[in-house]
């Protein structure tokens, strides 16, 4: 069956089974491979995208449920918070193997879009759904704080 999706501001029609998770639609059918497969049961966060601005695990969200939503994958990130997060990731050399980092960036961006000045506890709460087996957690935390500083300094809470 055909489904009309809005991803990164563009309309995509895909003809797949309705139970196919959004993850596999974007990866296998739309060739957006930045979103990663890690667990298939919303345990690791590697597949995180923004659905109407909310960090969402796409491995358990069906294509049928994705219709009519505003979906942003890592390829479509544009907000100043996203840019600040990605710059901090480079400056602090956050990624190691890097496989989980798309999901980490998506979760961190969603956090900063909602909370421009998160505490350590806020960061733990927002990020503990994203597993990193390389253990980049200290640098992820530092990266979020660096991005928050840049953002709040530059935009003065314009979020």
């Amino acid at each position: 069956m055909a489904y009309l999706l809005t991803i990164n501001g563009q309309s995509h029609e895909v003809d797949v089974e309705g139970d196919m998770p959004l993850l596999w639609v974007v990866r296998d059918h739309l060739n957006l491979t930045g979103t990663k497969f890690g667990c298939g049961m919303a345990q690791c966060g590697a597949c995180t995208v923004h659905v109407d601005g909310v960090a969402t695990r796409t491995c358990v969200m069906t294509v049928a449920d994705s219709v009519g939503k505003n979906i942003t994958t890592i390829e479509g990130l544009q907000s100043p918070q996203a840019m600040a997060v990605q710059q901090a990731w480079v400056d602090l050399q956050v990624p190691q193997c890097g496989y989980c980092q798309s999901g980490q960036v998506m979760s961190a961006t969603a956090l900063l879009e909602q909370n421009p000045n998160p505490t350590d506890a806020d960061i733990d709460a927002a990020m503990s759904g994203n597993i990193c087996r390389c253990g980049t957690y200290p640098r992820i935390k530092a990266g979020i704080k660096m991005a928050a500083t840049q953002f709040t300094n530059a935009a003065g809470g314009a979020a």
Partner: protein, 726 residues
């Protein structure tokens, strides 16, 4: 610029002519173009623009001034791209921002690990074996650039300087790119003529150079096996037997074949393969398979039964791994003996990218795309399955989403599975994808072990004799490395860390039982040290407490003849405020120090205890890894190694019930998350010694340091992982 004459002389005397050619090139306003038009009309220019001019196996330079470094090791997060490129750029005097990296092809003749004799990544050897080789590669390319400039400018090479990617002499200056075509055609200099920098001259080594943004690990553009897309590619999943060693008895694929997108279902050595147009179609079709398994050769025991067998084994003499003096006599004569039993579970690697591999088989040739950690042995295994020779196997190495040992599988398990699927669908690229459940339940775990340690104590409470017995599966047994790695029945990876005991104990011996169990096992970040360091450091701590001694002071006494561990332990203790800072009520501080992969790491841990729960609050680490080529990466690796080891200390455990693996995914194999990650401070011991391992040595001390911190609060000795207060 008489090309005709030049051609003639070239044929007669190539060496002279090459110099003449360089002069001709230099004299021309479009010198490079002239050289190109002679040597290989357009082809050289095209090659130079496409792939750069090859200076040697590791260095190419393009006219656009890009220096490409071929990386012979797999980049799986440990930082080999940055680290090895730093060594090249240092001696090349390149500007850091002109350097890009690419995985080298699978070619043992050029890219062998000098400590392994084959191309492969592991044992924290990437920098240790490459440090001189990469620097020499950079220095050789630099010498060729200088020679080319000297010829062009007709000046003495020794008067030419190179800095930040610019070659200069007086009023002359040229970028690497401008000299690349001419320089790359010069003969490679004799290695003996190369003068490498002294540590005092390093500009890039020792700095926190960063991995370039364009590798795309911050924006999703980095390509892993999972992301490889090829025209006409199909996706395969395999239904594996639920018990290790089981086989397919019969299967019915009719329902699976009816699922949309499914192309083929067939049996291979390791199970039933479902091949489809995409992953979801394949995985849903797999659920529809009706398979009857033959368990007659399967491992059907529970992990509890296996550990019970090991507990019995350590009460009996094993094969002698190491023996000094007569500890048996000392133990029976002693009136003060301490004895502890330790237990360690099976552990999954649980790297973030579940195992996967892209294979295409065309006749007797195979082309592969994956995060290949062991090119030489994988290549041989692939050739073996296809009945062909290694030169018919091409491997394209892409980034790996974590490894921690798993990707260097001695049996090339997931690689061969991909080949076995792909050979059934010739001339078609097939991506084998494991689900998380497949990955978690596929075995190749860190083996389970039981240790028994017994010490006779002298009047001062110090161990005068130590006897160690270890029971657990051999990682090397049955692999192609068995002949090399198992000596007199001893697999060194089962005992390393307890043999060559760091502490001064006059009489000691280590015995080993290596029972055969049907659970596939493999190395896991820091291999034998994952368990031996825990027994050693928890045992020493228990002896210190029994003696009423301070755990750091007690260790330092026993390390009098070990200046390196002494220095590292003292540094960590000082930075952690050992003995000088007060801890809040309910907190405890623990220490461990261990040497592995050529490096020494000490870790001091603060824990807070509330009822039956505890949290690791802070870790202060000190590492001596020789020259820290990139201190930021060294610190990142120590943090990473701590996180990985802490995950196992707190929660990781694979168990089996009647041969079935109980854990399936991250909800019941509970790895470390951000909310349990402590603050980590890492201090690097300044050194001018050659670099030693960094990826693994931070892992062994963390679990015993946590256990010892818990002991400081509770007074109890913790001898089982994962750690539980109740």
């Amino acid at each position: 610029m008489n090309i005709r004459r030049f051609l003639k002389s070239d044929a007669a005397a190539p060496d002279t002519s090459r110099r003449a050619f360089l002069k001709v090139s230099a004299g021309a306003s479009a010198g490079l173009m002239l050289g190109v038009s002679f040597t290989a009309p357009s082809a050289l220019a095209q090659q130079a623009a496409d792939t750069g001019m090859e200076f040697n196996a590791f260095v190419s330079i393009s006219p656009d001034n890009t220096v490409k470094v071929l990386i012979k090791h797999l980049e799986m997060g440990q930082g080999v791209y940055t680290g090895l490129a730093t060594c090249v750029a240092e001696e090349l005097d390149a500007a850091w921002d002109q350097v890009v990296c690419e995985h080298a092809p699978a070619d043992v003749s050029k890219y062998a690990n000098l400590l392994m004799g084959q191309q492969g990544t592991g044992g924290s050897t990437a920098m240790a074996n490459s440090f001189m080789q990469m620097r020499q590669a950079g220095a050789a390319a630099r010498a060729m650039l200088v020679a080319a400039a000297a010829a062009q400018w007709q000046v003495d090479a020794s008067d030419i300087t190179v800095s930040d990617g610019v070659v200069s002499h007086g009023n002359h200056s040229a970028s690497f790119g401008e000299l690349a075509v001419a320089a790359a055609q010069l003969p490679a200099p004799d290695r003996a003529t190369l003068t490498l920098k002294t540590p005092a001259e390093f500009k890039l080594i020792g700095q926190d150079n960063t991995l370039r943004k364009d590798v795309g690990k911050h924006n999703g553009t980095a390509i892993y096996t999972q992301d490889v897309k090829l025209p006409g590619m199909l996706t395969a999943v395999v239904a594996h037997p639920p018990r290790f060693g089981a086989r397919v008895r019969s299967f019915d694929a009719s329902a699976a074949l009816a699922r949309r997108g499914v192309q083929q279902v067939f049996e291979i050595d390791t199970g039933i393969a479902v091949v489809a147009s995409d992953y979801w179609s394949a995985i849903k079709a797999r659920e529809l398979l009706q398979i009857e398994w033959d368990d007659s050769a399967a491992e059907t025991r529970s992990s509890g039964d296996i550990l019970a067998q090991y507990r019995d084994l350590v009460e009996t003499p094993g094969a002698m791994a190491e023996s000094h003096g007569n500890p048996d006599a000392a133990l029976s004569a002693s009136s003060d003996v301490t004895e502890l039993m330790f237990e360690y579970p099976y552990l999954a690697h649980a790297q973030m990218e579940p195992m996967n591999c892209v294979a295409q088989v065309n006749g007797d040739a195979a082309e592969m795309w994956y995060g290949c950690q062991s090119p030489t042995s994988d290549k041989a295994a692939i050739a073996g399955v296809l009945g062909t020779s290694g030169d018919k196997v091409t491997i394209h190495t892409v980034f790996a989403g974590g490894g921690f040992g798993r990707r260097a599988n001695p049996a090339s398990d997931y690689v061969l599975e991909a080949v076995r699927v792909a050979r059934q669908i010739p001339n078609t690229p097939v991506k084998l994808v494991w689900s998380r459940e497949d990955d978690m339940q596929a075995g190749y775990y860190r083996p389970a072990y039981v240790h028994k340690l017994s010490a006779a104590l002298d009047a001062a409470g110090k161990p005068s004799a130590l006897k160690v017995r270890i029971a657990g599966q051999s990682i090397m047994a049955g692999t192609s490395m068995a002949a090399l790695m198992i000596n007199n029945g001893i697999d060194n990876t089962s005992v390393e860390g307890l043999t060559e005991f760091a502490y001064d104990v006059p009489e000691r011996q280590v015995e080993l039982h290596s029972p055969q169990v049907g659970v596939p096992v493999q190395w896991w970040r820091s291999v034998g040290h994952t368990h031996t360091a825990f027994s050693k450091e928890v045992f020493i701590d228990a002896l210190a407490r029994k003696a009423g001694a301070d755990p750091v002071a007690y260790r330092l006494e026993l390390l009098k003849n070990n200046p390196r561990e002494t220095a590292v332990l003292k540094l960590a203790a000082e930075k952690a405020g050992w003995g000088t800072t007060e801890l809040p009520e309910g907190w405890g501080r623990g220490v461990a120090v261990h040497t592995s992969f050529g490096s020494t790491v000490a870790e001091i841990v603060d824990v807070s205890v509330q009822g039956n729960n505890f949290k690791v609050e802070r870790v202060v680490a000190a590492i001596d890894c020789g020259i820290a080529v990139n201190p930021s990466i060294v610190k990142a690796q120590v943090e990473s190694a701590i996180a990985y080891g802490l995950s196992a200390a707190l929660a990781d455990e694979v168990t089996l019930t009647n041969g079935l693996v109980d854990q399936t995914n991250f909800h019941n194999y509970r790895v470390l998350r951000m909310n349990a990650m402590p603050v980590v401070e890492t201090h690097i011991v300044p050194s001018t010694n050659a670099p030693s391992g960094v990826g693994e040595p931070g892992t062994p001390p963390i679990a015993p340091a946590v256990a010892n911190a818990l002991a400081a609060v509770t007074g109890r000795t913790f001898t089982r992982l994962p750690l539980r207060l109740a």
